[in-house]
């Protein structure tokens, strides 16, 4: 009870993991593209809110430590998911660049949990100004060569800018919910989304939109040519056990019926 929040975060199983579907909308059918792992801090603490958890980690200068704890917990939690399911994991760019042997350790830890690299996507986010570019690129190359997909996370807000795209050379651009929510009735949000679609195509990347909460926004992003989406309109985040009960995990025939 008297320990600091940082000490509590180090306790075994302090970090809880939930998963939220990233849904493919190709050819008018909804299917599961990947599950994004979302972490929550210890129950009853301020870090139960993920925004506070990561803001706290950054202010304490321990984002790398917290990243590594989270990745360990996520891989353990994802071990029970079906082998056909891809898992998307958030990581700070500074962790990728500054942790010696990050790529090899990540791949090896995933393998220990029975998760092959082609099932993995890393969403790179950054709130610090700079990282060591040579090690960052080398680490991403190792991951990409193994089959891990790379995404730029939170595109459109904070430090997730054009430089991130240049540095990461991503397979996916994940557009932040701030840009997405309300896009159907906001010409500025819609224009930003349209420009991201153009940018993504020019970079041979595929856009993913976060924060879809209603059918109107969903239909709008589909009309803009975006066919990977995530948000409460499809499902909230939930435990690994619960997420496998979603319609996406049903057989093809059952899925047609459910959609």
């Amino acid at each position: 009870m008297s320990s600091t929040l940082f000490e509590q975060l180090h306790r075994r199983a302090a970090i809880r993991v939930e998963f939220q579907p990233i849904v493919s909308l190709r050819a008018g059918e909804r299917s599961l593209y990947a599950l994004e792992a979302l972490v929550r801090g210890p129950r009853g603490t301020n870090a139960e809110r993920p925004d506070v958890l990561f803001e706290y980690a950054r202010r304490k200068g321990v984002e790398t430590t917290i990243d590594l704890i989270c990745i360990g917990e996520i891989l353990a939690a994802a071990a029970v998911l079906p082998e056909t399911v891809s898992i998307s994991i958030n990581v700070h760019g500074s962790t990728v660049s500054d942790v010696p042997g990050f790529a090899q350790t990540f791949l090896s830890d995933a393998a220990k949990h029975g998760i092959g690299p082609r099932r993995l996507m890393l969403e790179i986010l950054e709130h610090r100004g700079a990282w060591t570019m040579s090690t960052f690129r080398a680490s991403l190359d190792t991951l990409r060569d193994a089959g891990v997909r790379i995404a730029v996370d939170d595109l459109g807000v904070g430090a997730s800018n054009f430089r991130m795209i240049v540095d990461c050379r991503p397979d996916h651009l994940k557009v932040d919910r701030y840009v997405v929510q309300g896009c159907s009735h906001d010409r500025y949000r819609s224009a930003v989304l349209q420009s991201i679609v153009t940018l993504a195509h020019a970079c041979a990347a595929v856009p993913i939109v976060e924060g879809i909460e209603d059918e109107v926004d969903l239909q709008h992003v589909v009309a803009l040519g975006i066919d990977l989406a995530q948000g409460w309109h499809f499902a909230a985040s939930m435990t690994a056990a619960d997420v496998t009960q979603l319609p996406f995990f049903a057989t093809t025939n059952e899925r047609r019926f459910l959609s």
């Binding site: 600091t4 929040l5 301020n46 809110r49 925004d51 506070v52 803001e55 706290y56 202010r59």
Partner: protein, 138 residues
């Protein structure tokens, strides 16, 4: 029943939100319990970074902060007040300290504290002061 389209939400009372920062859990516990019973929304933190992480994502109407979270001579409480004010210029503040001197109090007020209380202090005294600050009486 209000007429269709009337702005019902505007008539609902707005819950004031407090941030209480102290390294002593007993003080946090007592103040949080008191203010929640009074109908306020309350967040608590024990460290500078924890308080700032909360304030980076939340607008607070009042902050009650221990001046020194890492021992005599430190002044994290004033940093927290300044940080909260960056997000809400109208936020009011109370500084608590066990190391109060007239010089420290003058410095705290110069750096934005609205009120200054020596520790130990009865919860009732802190609560009364907080209420007066939030209602604009001070």
């Amino acid at each position: 029943m209000p007429a269709c389209g009337s702005p019902v939400a505007l008539w609902l009372p707005v819950t004031k939100r407090l941030l209480i920062v102290d390294d002593e859990i007993s003080i946090l516990f007592a103040l949080k319990r008191y203010f929640i019973r009074q109908g306020y929304a309350v967040d608590c933190a024990r460290e500078l970074e924890e308080a700032e992480a909360l304030a980076a994502h939340t607008i607070y109407d009042l902050v009650i902060a221990d001046l020194s979270l890492s021992g005599a001579g430190s002044a994290e409480g004033l940093e927290i007040i300044r940080f909260v004010r960056r997000h809400n210029h109208h936020a009011r503040s109370i500084v608590l300290t066990a190391y109060g001197t007239p010089h420290v109090e003058r410095e705290a007020r110069r750096r934005g504290a609205n009120a200054f209380l020596a520790k130990p202090q009865q919860v009732g005294n802190i609560a009364q002061l907080a209420k007066r600050l939030m209602e604009g009486e001070l």
